[in-house]
Symmetry: C2
Subunit: 190 residues, 2 copies
């Protein structure tokens, strides 16, 4: 008869993945110690023990999540480069709108809001995530692009604007804008 629960030692490293999963699903703002602890199979008591206080816990979580995001981007690198900026943009937009990215996006806007309000760990995480995404996008630019660096930054700006308009129910508006800019084909969806 084997022991049903070996009860392994927990540390920040073993806790963070489970905590992050809970945060990605339920958000950071409304996250309180007890639900977080339950999601990770511990108690609020232990969260404070391992992280000191909630602020440091959140900071650690944001760092970790930023790392997860980074890894997810590395995972999603396409084999073949797109041939045009238009195709590049379409690809990354499709990726950003994919259902598996949706919890991430929901959390993302919360991080942006936290950055704007100046909540301790938020801006650092947001900055890191954007930096990583830019790097990734630069690597996805067409090979013969005349200005990959500037172009990637341009596409990033457009991409984020497009995603934002999408989350507030104005996907059509963004699409028509892209259409006018020559960065999108005419296609129906909303």
């Amino acid at each position: 008869m084997p022991k049903p629960d070996p009860k392994p030692k927990m540390s920040r490293e073993t806790l963070l993945p489970q905590l992050a999963a809970h945060v990605i699903e339920h958000g950071l703002g409304g996250a309180s110690l007890r639900p977080l602890a339950k999601a990770a199979g511990t108690s609020d008591r232990m969260l404070i023990y391992h992280f000191g206080d909630k602020e440091r816990l959140v900071r650690n979580l944001l760092e970790y999540i930023s790392g997860v995001y980074s890894a997810a981007l590395d995972m999603a690198i396409g084999q073949d480069r797109p041939k045009t900026r238009q195709e590049c943009f379409a690809r990354v937009l499709t990726l950003g709108r994919g259902p598996q990215m949706q919890p991430f996006m929901t959390l993302w806007w919360e991080i942006v809001a936290g950055s704007a309000r100046g909540i301790p760990g938020y801006k650092d995480a947001a900055e890191a995530m954007m930096a990583k995404q830019l790097l990734w996008l630069e690597g996805q630019m067409p090979e013969d692009d005349p200005d990959p660096a500037g172009g990637a930054r341009y596409l990033m700006t457009l991409l984020e604007g497009t995603l934002m308009l999408g989350t507030v129910g104005h996907a059509r508006m963004a699409r028509e804008g892209l259409l006018a800019s020559g960065l999108a084909d005419a296609q129906a969806e909303d």
Copy 2:
């Protein structure tokens, strides 16, 4: 000897401006009844009395704030139209980054985050505010623009992306992108 406090009857209409002022300064997420009430010179008891419950209060607040935003935009219509899209974009970007707009922007990202999370009143407010801003921007497009409708939507997308990158500390990235797109001059600031 006049009465020091005539204690006028309060209604939703008299309360909303003061409540909105508090929300614009301190945010919506962390807004709880008692601080809100104090900011409006009442009690939590009366907020519930007038609005029913907190969700309806928030909904009313978002509607009201959306109206305030709309009015602020109407106020900020320039007499002379810009001559180029570039100038148009520069103007609206300067306006959006102005210090008097900053509390609004901070609140805005919170509204976007709320929309993404599906919190009841948020998406409606965000949609209304974006619709209004688009209308405003269309009115600010150069007179000889070949496609004012599409152009305004394009500029909106770019603008929102630029503002977002700015709030997370990547203003430089957005600027270099705009520079590469031909929508901005070379100028130093960050």
